[in-house]
Amino acid sequence: MSEQVWVVLQHREGKLHRMSKEAIAAGQRLAGEIGGTVSGVLLGSGLGDLVAQASAFDLATLYTVDDSALQDYNPGAYVAALTPAIREQAPAFVVFPHTYQSVDYFPRLGQALDAALVPEVIGFENGADGLIWQRPILGGKLQARVRVKTSGTVLLSVQSGAFPADGAAAGQADVEPLPSVPSGLTSDREILEVQQVGDDQVDLTKADVIVAIGRGVGGADKVESLRELAKVLGADIGASRPVIDNGWLLDADGNVERERQIGSSGQTVAPKLYIAAGISGAIQHLVGMKGATCIVAINKDATAPIFNIAHYGIVGDLHEIVPALTEAVAAVKG
């Protein structure tokens, strides 16, 4: 029997998650590499139209689990539903999108199966010693090439953007219930509510120009020069996560403006111009802004990963460069 690759698909409000398609693209590439087949796994309650969405890819089989215990995501029921089938069918690889949901439970699944975990894969190669996985380390400053030295099923999560969704081949999958799902699945979380973070008055998704402040700014008392730059540019202010976490970006009433955070746990923006000042360029930040038309990075560290995706870069102290930039912009705009 040829080796199998499974892809566990995430969804929300009746739609496949964008990164599920990226995970399918990764799974298809992986199956091609090892000469195997790729199948999808879809878990939920009242799957309905999701089955049609998910079976429209080039998958050997789409396995489904439709159970009321899976209505809201919870790790207990997800792990219990997946464990026996993976143990029995022993796919070589199970691919997950690297989302806040998958990473919450896939370690527990790995433990139940004693399977190896390779989180946050951004690439792979098939060498003499088998598959070698690439993953970012140290906030994306470096990358590691890792190998699984044990045998058995390997669970991996693929990072956003590494395997573009448009690489996922379309097709028509056979739909089958996932085998061996235990009866009486139960949720191990009592879901109370879903909330929006911060207020929804700040919408950076439509901003034309964003001045984004990073930890390199060095303190709440030092953001003023960036506000001045934003003013002459007619730009909105955004920030990386640590700036928000540290309480450095406050509104007129002294409240932390968490809604101005850009990245995987904040807003996803696509302005014409994005000026990143004192931002290193960790993947969780990049996913929120790499769609900008023109990215300018100002950073004192010439090796900061932000320079790999920026269009223009200046190496230096932002506290010198930003005021100079404000003056230069004022000169041409004034």
Partner: protein, 264 residues
């Protein structure tokens, strides 16, 4: 409540990073180490709940001798005791092997709640703490931005981050492993009195045998993963770098944004 908190010491991200000669990890000479960012928030959360429930905090770290500095800091902040998994057999493991050791130390110590960070800033597996929960047979939650211990420690209301600026709120039964995300609270600073007191607080260093562990399940021997090589990423097309002093660079950038990129 007796609260255990797991902290990892990681290289300071501001540090100049160099790859070691063998290419497998960083050259640790001249490297500055700090407590992992989300773990600092976990320590604060642990101290807060220990104070509210009249309990105490035990701080646990696996790592070489240098980690003692991080443990002392946790003690200075208010933890009652520290556990340092310093034995050579513990070192160099992946999330799986590290979790085996941490779970055994927690079990040995006894805890009603375990707090951890969400992700380490060096290897960033985002898995170690969930694996600890698995060993203990407890529920867990990753990326926690709000915690409320309820019913005298029987349950907890947890706010967990989802993508795109949404949070999910749910209830768990305790004991559990709560994996805190940066930003959940405002970590305190150590007082001079705290620093003085910390010098007299105990740091236990249990061996694998004392925790009933077999060395084959620990460190590199107990790992699924092996790091073959680390390297600076290929810079791709890279940015067009603009040189010169601040005024000259700013002027040139504005010109390029106007004429070349046409975004001004």
């Amino acid at each position: 409540m007796r609260i255990a908190v797991c902290i990892k010491q990681v290289p300071d991200t501001e540090a100049r990073l160099r790859v070691a000669k063998d290419g497998k990890w960083l050259d640790e000479e001249d490297l500055r180490f700090v407590i992992n960012e989300s773990d600092e928030y976990a320590v604060e959360e642990a101290l807060t709940w220990a104070e509210k429930t009249g309990g105490e905090v035990v701080i646990i770290s696996l790592g070489p001798a240098r980690v003692q500095e991080a443990l002392r800091k946790g003690l200075a902040l208010g933890a009652a005791k520290a556990i340092h998994l310093v034995d050579e057999a513990y070192q160099g493991g992946d999330a799986r092997a590290t979790a085996v050791a941490l779970a055994a130390a927690i079990q040995n110590e006894g805890a009603d709640l375990v707090l951890t960070g969400s992700q380490s800033d060096d290897v960033g597996y985002g898995s170690t703490a969930s694996l600890v929960a698995g060993h203990l047979g407890w529920p867990h939650a990753w990326l926690v931005m709000g915690l409320e211990v309820e019913e005298g420690g029987a349950t907890a209301k947890v706010t967990r981050e989802m993508e795109s600026g949404m949070n999910e709120v749910f209830r768990l039964t305790l004991p559990a492993v709560i994996e805190v995300q940066a930003g959940i609270n405002h970590p305190r600073y150590a007082s001079l009195k705290g620093i003085m007191k910390a010098k007299r607080k105990p740091i236990d260093k249990p061996t694998p045998a004392e925790l009933g562990l077999d060395a084959a399940s620990l460190g590199a021997a107990g790992s699924h993963l092996e790091i073959l090589e680390i390297a600076f990423p290929d810079s791709g097309d890279g940015a067009q770098m603009i040189e010169g002093d601040a005024a000259a660079a700013a002027k040139e950038l504005v010109e390029k944004l106007q004429k070349e990129a046409r975004v001004l």
